[in-house]
C-alpha cells in the first residue's frame, strides 16, 4: 500500500470536508455547540452522582473522570475519522458504491475515512487538554502502556467499523448498526468493572468495549494487570484480521443493485 498516496488523499478529502462544513457555517456552529453542551451536561451529571456517593467499585472521582474522558477521546476519534460510514448505506442502495470500486484506491479506505468530521475536532482537542491536565504526573511506563493500548483500542474501533460496513453490503443495514454500536458504547462511559459479572464478561469478551475504553484508561492510571494488556493486543490483532476477511467476503456479495 502506498502510504504517501493515501495520506495525500486523506488530506484532500479532509480539506473538501472542511469546505463543505464552512459552506454551512450556521449548522456547523450549532452542531459543535450541541456537542459541547452534551459533554458538559454529562460530565456535570457524573460529578453530581459521584459527589453524592462513596467510591464506585473502588474508583474515586478523579479516576471516574479519567474513564469518562478516555471514553470521549475514543468515541470522538471514531466519529472524527470514520464519519463516512454514516453515509455508506446511501451508496449501497443506490449502487453508487460501484464508483468506489472502479477507482484505483482501496474501497474500504474510501468508505471509512474519506469524510473526516471536523466538527468533532474542537471537542476532541478539549478532551485531550483535559486528559493532559488531569494526568500531568503520569509515569513514563504508564504513558507508554497507554499509547500501546490506545493503538489496540483504535484497531478495535476500526475493526468494528469495517464489520459494520461489511454487514451493510450484505444487508444494506448500516445506519442502525452504527447507532446500535454507539448506543452500546455508552455503557463504557464508566469502567466495565462496576457492572455485574455477566454484563462485565459480555463487555470484556463478546463486545469488548473494555479493550477500547476501560483498559487504556486503567493503563494510564497504572492499575491494569499484565494479562489484560496481552489480551488487548492479541484481541485487537485478531479482530482486525477477521474484519478484513469479512470485508473481502462481503465485497463478493455486493450485487450493485439500482446502479
Amino acid at each position: 500500500m502506498n502510504l504517501k498516496k493515501y495520506f495525500y488523499l486523506w488530506c484532500r478529502t479532509t480539506i473538501l470536508s472542511l469546505q463543505s462544513k464552512l459552506s454551512r457555517r450556521g449548522s456547523s456552529v450549532i452542531f459543535i455547540l450541541g456537542k459541547f453542551i452534551r459533554f458538559t451536561f454529562y460530565i456535570f451529571s457524573l460529578l453530581v452522582v459521584l459527589g453524592k456517593s462513596q467510591k464506585i467499585a473502588g474508583f474515586d472521582i478523579k479516576q471516574m473522570i479519567n474513564f469518562f474522558l478516555i471514553f470521549n477521546l475514543f468515541d470522538l476519534l471514531g466519529q472524527f475519522f470514520f464519519r463516512g460510514i454514516y453515509w455508506f448505506r446511501g451508496k449501497i442502495v443506490s449502487g453508487m458504491f460501484d464508483l468506489s470500486l472502479i477507482k484505483p484506491v482501496s474501497p474500504l479506505f474510501q468508505v471509512l475515512i474519506t469524510d473526516t468530521d471536523l466538527l468533532d475536532l474542537p471537542l476532541l482537542l478539549i478532551v485531550i487538554a483535559m486528559l493532559i491536565r488531569q494526568n500531568l504526573n503520569i509515569s513514563l511506563i504508564n504513558l507508554a502502556l497507554f499509547i500501546l493500548l490506545s493503538l489496540a483500542a483504535f484497531l478495535v474501533i476500526t475493526s468494528f467499523h469495517i464489520l459494520i460496513a461489511s454487514i451493510g453490503i450484505i444487508t444494506t443495514e448500516v445506519d442502525n448498526m452504527v447507532w446500535i454500536y454507539r448506543d452500546l458504547t455508552l455503557l463504557a462511559r464508566v469502567p466495565v468493572d462496576i457492572y455485574l459479572g455477566s454484563v462485565r464478561v459480555f463487555l470484556t469478551f463478546i463486545l469488548p468495549l473494555a479493550v477500547i475504553f476501560t483498559f487504556p484508561a486503567k493503563a494510564m492510571m497504572g492499575i491494569l494487570a499484565w494479562p489484560w494488556i496481552i489480551y488487548s493486543l492479541i484481541f485487537s490483532s485478531c479482530i482486525l484480521f477477521f474484519a478484513l476477511k469479512f470485508w473481502h467476503f462481503s465485497l463478493r456479495k455486493y450485487s450493485s443493485a439500482s446502479s
Partner: protein, 243 residues
Amino acid sequence: MWQFRAFFLLLGGYFFWYAVYRFNNQIGVYDEKLMLTYVLLSSFLQSLILTSRNFQIAEDIATGKLNNRLIKPVNYLKSMFSLDLGAKAASIFFLFFQLAIIFMVLKPPFFIQKDPLKLLSFILVSLGGLFVYFYLSSLISLVTFWYPEDYGWPARFLFMVVNNFLSGGVLPLDILPPAIFNFLRLLPPAHFIFFPLQVYLGKVNNFEFFQGFLVMIFWLIVLKIITDFVWQKGLKNYTAVGI
C-alpha cells in the same frame, strides 16, 4: 432496529444505576428501588411523550413538501399530532415487550404506586406533558421557515441534547444542587419525565402537585399561542424552496 436501539439504551441506563447502587445505598433522596423505578418508567414516558414525528414538519418546510400538505382539507399541525399519536402507540407497544423481558429476566425492584388518586394524577400530568412537548417540538421545527439548512436538523439536534438533560432523562433533577433544581423544575422539559415521575413516586404533596400542574398549564397555553403565531408568520415567509 430502532426498537433494538431503544432497548439497549434502556438496558444501559438500568445497568448503570444498578451498578451505582451496588456500592451505595442512597443517592440523594433515591434508594435503589425508587431509582430503578424512575429509570424504567422514564423509558415509558420517553415513548409516550418524547417519541414524535415532529421532525417531519421541518423536512416538509425545507423540501417544499409542505405545499402538498397545505392544499389538503385538514389542519396541518393537527394532522401532525395524529401522526405523533401513531408513533407513540407503536413505541409503547414495543416498549411493553422490552419491559416484559427486563422484568422476567432481571427481576428489578420496582415501586408500585397503590394510591389511585396518585395514579390518576400521574396519567393527567403525563398527558399534559405530551401536549406541552408537542407544541415545543413543533416550535423547534418551525424555525425551519427561516433557517432551512440541513432540513432543520441543527436546531432539532440542539433541542434533543438540551431536552434530554432538562427533562430528567439523564438523572432525576432533584439530585442536582437546589438552586439549579428550583430553576429547572419551572421549565417546560421538567414536565416531560421528571414531574410525572415525581407524582408517581409520591414525592410531591398536594401543594407541590398543584404548583407543578399550574406551571404545566401555563407553558401549555404560552407554547400553543407562540406556536400558532409562529406558524402564521412562517407561512407568510414560506417560499416553497426545494420544489
